[in-house]
Point group: D2
Chain length 353, copies 4
């Protein structure tokens, strides 16, 4: 079987395995306080146009750094949201947002309501955010309802779509006007930034967001996400939160080594570009063959409506991801490429469509 | 000003104040372990057609009783839901449900997602509950999503509507089929049971629900809710949960005395009937004068769409509750009667409509 | 049976019942936004030498007031601690502190470790607090351990003891030096302030604490605690937290009416003085009869070691509270007086000792 | 510098890196539902003398398997304790237990009090557990205090000590008598089982515990812990809890591959034996040179009291871990070996002692 099911079905970019091999018997301090993490943090802050604020938790200077590494996305989302909100606050997000639907209630488990806003395509708008904030402020039962305390969006979205830079900055402006931090989930940030339709760079994301993460797990690492805390007010004591949330890897250097490798010479973007280019080949084929595409994704996730009969046939050779059943005869499927997608597999899939 | 804003703007039924006066200098044990609470529990279990299971928490027999008294509704809802769910479970309820919109995220604060189902009128249907349960069971990402762990509904609803006994028992049957306990919020249970359109008695609610409460706060008591745990499997250690949730009143007898008074000779229903009868007079007037009534409520809450100009005029003399603004010229208002509504006030309001 | 078991076994001061009667059919807004609460808040801020900061939550001005009323102590402690701490922080308190031992883990339930410090008599010292803070700051595993985020103490303590004003201010100074808010639990504040051995007034407590509460439940009210937020930085959005914690009474005026009555003409202190004076008569008798008193309490709680045989005999007529069993032959008992203690009951108990 | 600071300062056993390399481009399902995890689960259940209960969460059969893989220890402890306890329950453990002191309050963060019992050496006794349980059952304020809901112990302890099989089974018997599940934290299980002083095998641990984990992170894996749920009643819905707790690795096979390698041909025990044998060489040297050893550890962690001057000298070449300062002149240090300790480094350290 050939998998186009998701972007985490292989191991990692060979360059990363090489580095893990090369550094294997080095002795380092644990918990992210090693030279590899330090180096990786520097590379990432540079890529974001920020200045690295170093870790110093010792002796009462409990401000923490700009960049932290965590193992996975649910963990990162939970730790961030848990750190930013007070108990009576919730997080505004699209109804299709990962924190709303696919984390088994991890946000609620740490005490916060997800304030889901309806969207047709998974994208929030600045207006929608503003209306939600004002709707709360003008609610006569104001303190009987959850206060919007931050905004969460994903770039690209769960539907594979991009925010333009103008859209991002508009949402950011509303957030700043009302004092709500903006958190951007970049689990697939590379697949967004590498899209030919993107007009954003990491620096734009860093300019819009108060805090965001750059995904590794789906982008060529074995695992790992790099969290960037742009707004200094949100950095305080962050390492405590990571440890409490089960996100502080004992052998933290494993995260440092992976992100070092991804960010040292452009590997991160090269891997991303490959995935997007394969995805766009698939999209072109889907369109030519007349499939209905609910969202015009220019990133590594493509969505198409298939007749069940056709899907069954394709399913003999390929594993796709079933999203929903629009009607009894059709299935909405997701086709995912990744850094690891082999061109010949794409060719075979295109032929089978 | 004359208030029709809510059903908790006066003190309490005079009979209750008398009893508080009469018992004031009695010495009793605290925390609900006094003779008044015992008596009130017996009266309530009888009214529900249940057998009182007495409190015994001493020496390791940690099963707890059938009836518990708590101070308020948010507290009761939180303690119940917190007790019934495991960490990965959520509570199914109507999107307009009190636990979803008007408790400042208390349910999420204790770790659980409210799984809100869309309704036009605030009423759940058995089919809707079944679809939500099956939708989860058939979700390919099943354990990445919150598991429905119980069902919450209010009788009457936030919109003043009633479930027929058939509707209640149908929801109950679905709950039992899938092993989810059914919890009924009866903050205004009396105003429901006393409605001429109701075909339910307390015994029917006790037959449908695994756990429910009979409201006191909005029904003539100073404060207090009587929680009835029909399903013995849900009783274990319940007093711990109440204490932890801040719901165990030191002078617990205050709750016992109030519910004794309400349930000894039918006072609870007499007070309820008065409120409903006044509300129906208002509804008749609203209908005759051509107001749009979004829901045909036969309980103590009436909803009507008013021109803003008219509302402003009425607002000089009467306090109503503004629910929403359907358009720039109109307001949806709630008019509430209660055990304390004076007939002459109702007459004056009707004249002013 | 005559009860000296606790300070909440009767109803309330007759003056309060009278006021409840007199105001019963008034119509007011709910949730503490009524004139009685407003008046009571003003009386309390005056008594504390503070300026009342009024409630205004409407239209985005989400600072909240200086004084809030909640129903009970566990609830108040939970809401305060939950509001003040970030997720990785804990509350320093004496190992015998109410939040550590008698609230069924309510503090942990809302996510925070109680950092219990060992004490022989239930009193914290400034040095002990400082050592705990420094111990954390110098811990090499600093962010792997819970950060002390506030200090909790009770005045008087669970053992009936008082902090001198110098002791209070010393603890307060350490708290301010390290930026930890100080929270004082005054469930029995009156019984402390009214003691002939106290050198503190409400103003001293307000000067030392960032936030504290003045107990009503054990001090002559039916129920209720008045929370005073001295430090303006801790006031923001507090009403949300109260609502979420189930502490916002629908008929909030019941709390306002009670505290109005207690604080209008010195009733609160008169009731307290009576209880303390009866307790000191009992202490004198205990000492004269040679009982061992582990703590020299000058407040309404007296502790004495009794032979089990003697206790059994006394127990035929009097209900005391058993605290622990120092050995097989003896029991440590607590004898509690209150605003409601009848002088002739005290006489009878003294005779029986 | 040569590190004897902890057991996670290198990468992983070379055999594991080889397997990661060999499997890198395989395509598998995510989240632990791949053949490597399946194989590893079978190997582990065999090693424990249990029968593998397979994962099936699909279509409503929500019982889950015997073995689950999680990324790290704090996460595993949190997910387990969170799953086993009801909200009013706490976990009994030694005061030095990892969950009590070194997880930034992760247990409290998910709502539960750690009921720490005093120990001199980090070991619980069956008697102590029984007394804690009975102390609660006989507490007159029973439901005002946290109910002991499970027992946690670590094998070996944080102090490097072992429980004999008799001690383990005695604690287990008490747990079963009172219905509390026993959870054993085996972060360093191998270093315990491989000790010449151990009289336990994995099967004994599986016989005593209701649930336990076999550590990978400190035992030669890059990361990862294998959780074994012996008691079927505790398995239900466990995958939901793992996902919610941020512990479900997208590329779950990385855990499967590592544990496959560790358990296929005895590698796990070989690596452990090496570490213990190096540690015992160090202990012998410490004893011969007259250091005070507070605990007679026969596992990979050795503890010794050193003069500060001596420590400073050693510190020029070696990194040890400072535990505490018994007095102004001395430091209690921990010396850790691991699967990766080089014999020549041990020789050098011994020479320097």
């Amino acid at each position: 079987m050939i998998y186009f099911e998701c972007d985490y079905q292989e191991g990692c970019a060979p360059e990363i395995l090489e580095q893990l091999q090369a550094t294997n018997m080095e002795q380092t301090a644990g918990y992210g306080l090693d030279p590899h993490c330090e180096h990786a943090r520097r590379l990432i802050t540079e890529a974001c146009g920020l200045e690295e604020h170093a870790e110093r938790t010792w002796r009462g200077d409990q401000t923490s750094g700009t960049v932290h590494f965590l193992v996975g996305g649910t963990q990162t989302n939970t730790v961030v949201i848990n750190s930013l909100l007070r108990p009576h606050q919730g997080v505004l997000c699209a109804d299709s947002g990962h924190v709303n639907v696919h984390e088994t209630g991890a946000i609620e488990h740490c005490g916060h309501k997800v304030l889901a806003l309806p969207t047709a395509d998974g994208k929030l708008t600045a207006l929608q955010v503003q209306e939600a904030i004002l709707g709360h402020l003008y609610d006569p039962n104001i303190e009987h309802t959850v206060q919007p305390g931050m905004v969460y969006l994903s770039f690209p979205t769960e539907t594979g779509l991009l925010y333009s830079n103008a859209e991002l900055q508009a949402i950011s402006a509303i957030c700043r006007q009302y004092g709500l931090p903006l958190y951007i989930d970049g689990a697939r940030a590379g697949y967004g930034l590498a899209s030919p339709e993107a007009d954003t760079e990491l620096k734009d994301i860093a300019a819009a967001a108060d805090i965001f993460y750059i995904g590794g797990t789906k982008q060529g690492a074995l695992f790992g996400e790099a969290l960037v805390i742009v707004n200094p007010a949100l950095r305080k004591d962050f390492r405590y939160l990571i440890k409490q949330g089960g996100g502080m890897l004992a052998k933290g250097r494993l995260l440092g080594i992976q992100f070092e490798t991804l960010f040292e010479d452009g590997l991160y973007m090269r891997l991303s570009e490959h995935a997007v280019s394969e995805a766009l080949r698939i999209r072109k084929a889907l369109e030519e063959k007349g499939y209905e595409l609910p969202w015009k994704s220019a990133t590594n996730q493509q969505f198409a409506v298939m007749e069940n009969k056709k899907l069954e046939e394709i399913g003999k050779e390929f594993v796709l991801s079933e999203v929903s059943r629009p009607d009894a005869e059709h299935t909405l499927v997701r086709i995912c490429t990744s850094w690891a997608t082999r061109k010949e597999h794409t060719d075979m899939l295109i032929a089978a469509l």
